[in-house]
Symmetry: C2
DNA sequence: TTGATTAAGTTACACGCTGTAACGAAATCA
DNA sequence: TGATTTCGTTACAGCGTGTAACTTAATCAA
């Protein structure tokens, strides 16, 4: 929201030639795509630090002022590009609490393995400097993911897998933070099983006091206990 | 380790005038302190982005080349300064598992409220670019803290408060990550009770299968249940 | 005292990136 | 035809970086 300098949607409302059209030469829509593709490529190659609007302009075959007509600056371009590359990717509704949560976290795992992972550390620095940018990031990246994860938790509560008195915001942080933590500091790898391991731990933390009738999949179901052991 | 350009310790081994002394004009030790003080002040005022070696030199009344003789660059100066300002601050050994873990996390809470919190987002960006710097950061900031938290967990295992088959590295991430997550993205505040809330959740996650004899303080002891409720 | 050695301060420089301005050419609408 | 807006190009000032060159200062060894 308000990420681009001027919203293209304000010109033609629906698809096709809208009834009202702004005067003047229209923007070349293909430039947006070429710029975003160049941004993703440069992020994957050298990370956020190696990305300069000068390099993006050259890679996309575009003049630098053209970029500034569409985005306020480098972090805005990156946020806008990453949001579109990540998609919505909400947690699924499978009827199994654990599976829903793991599916939500797995989209993070996948994103962190690509351009998003290379971009995040540098982007965090700019988020801390520009509050408006941080808000846009939270609305466009966090909000939908957290909402769908919260819905999965609520289904778990209704199902009896999760206590009713949990602090949802804190539990959401406990679920996602370890993945962000590892991608930002690189002290430990994010593996295929990491999301599942985190969910297993958190589900134990929020399980009801008295063990409920195990209606769906209790924490740790489907995976042998021995696999998680042995590092003390 | 290898954070400074040349280690001052290599000149005089013990306190006082050592037996061997490097030739030439000795370094002015007070300059190190003045530079670090200027660095902390500038970090608190404007964060990592507003900190330039030019500004540090001016604030400390020192020439810029003098800084480059002692530190390899801005991130090295910041890491070195933050490490000394944070101290060791290990988790205490009180005999109470929960209290030990909370005390360890509370040092993070305190640090994040000051210069460390202002510096961390920008520093993360440089850590991702310079692997040697990231390793130095992990060794000097993470290692001691994680070691003392791991010791607290081990005491909890021996005490019967914690299962013996936990993945220690993952549990350590689960404990610290929410605090880093909040300070880096700013989506939720870090309050006085946050560390305790996180520990309470994690202790539930790692509690033994069969409720053990409550020898010391079980998860949630000492705080009324109602306080944590009501946000679903 | 003399010479060697190293730090400190000052000044200066090239480099890269930023964000904007100015210009002419092109595309669209009224 | 005229108004409007985009696009590409070129140019510019500003800022911080990292290093070099030079002079002065401080210390040790002979």
């Amino acid at each position: 929201m308000a990420m681009e300098r001027r919203n293209t949607k304000a010109r033609g409302a629906a698809a096709g030639p809208g009834p009202r059209r702004a005067p003047g030469r229209p923007r070349d829509e293909r430039i947006d795509e070429e710029v975003r593709a160049a941004t993703l490529a440069l992020l994957r190659e050298g990370g956020y630090g190696a990305l300069s609007l000068e390099a993006v302009a050259e890679r996309a075959g575009v003049g630098r002022p053209t970029l500034y007509r569409r985005w306020a600056g480098k972090p805005q371009l990156v946020v806008d590009t990453l949001v579109r590359s990540m998609g919505e990717a909400p947690a699924a509704d499978t009827g199994d609490t654990r599976e829903d949560l793991v599916s939500g976290l797995s989209t993070l795992t996948a994103a962190f393995a690509g351009a998003v992972g290379r971009a995040l550390p540098g982007l965090v620095a700019d988020l801390a400097v520009e509050p408006a940018l941080a808000q846009a990031f939270r609305e466009r990246v966090f909000a939908t993911r957290r909402a769908s994860m919260a819905a999965a938790l609520a289904r778990g509560v209704a199902r009896g897998d999760i206590r009713g008195d949990i602090d949802v915001e804190l539990v959401l942080d406990l679920l996602a933070a370890p993945l962000y933590y590892r991608v930002l500091f690189g002290h430990a790898p994010i593996q295929g099983r990491t999301a599942g391991d985190v969910v297993d731990l958190v589900l134990r933390a929020v399980a009801p006091e008295t063990a409920p009738a195990q209606r769906t999949a209790p924490p740790g179901a489907g995976r042998p206990r021995g696999k998680r052991a042995g590092r003390v």
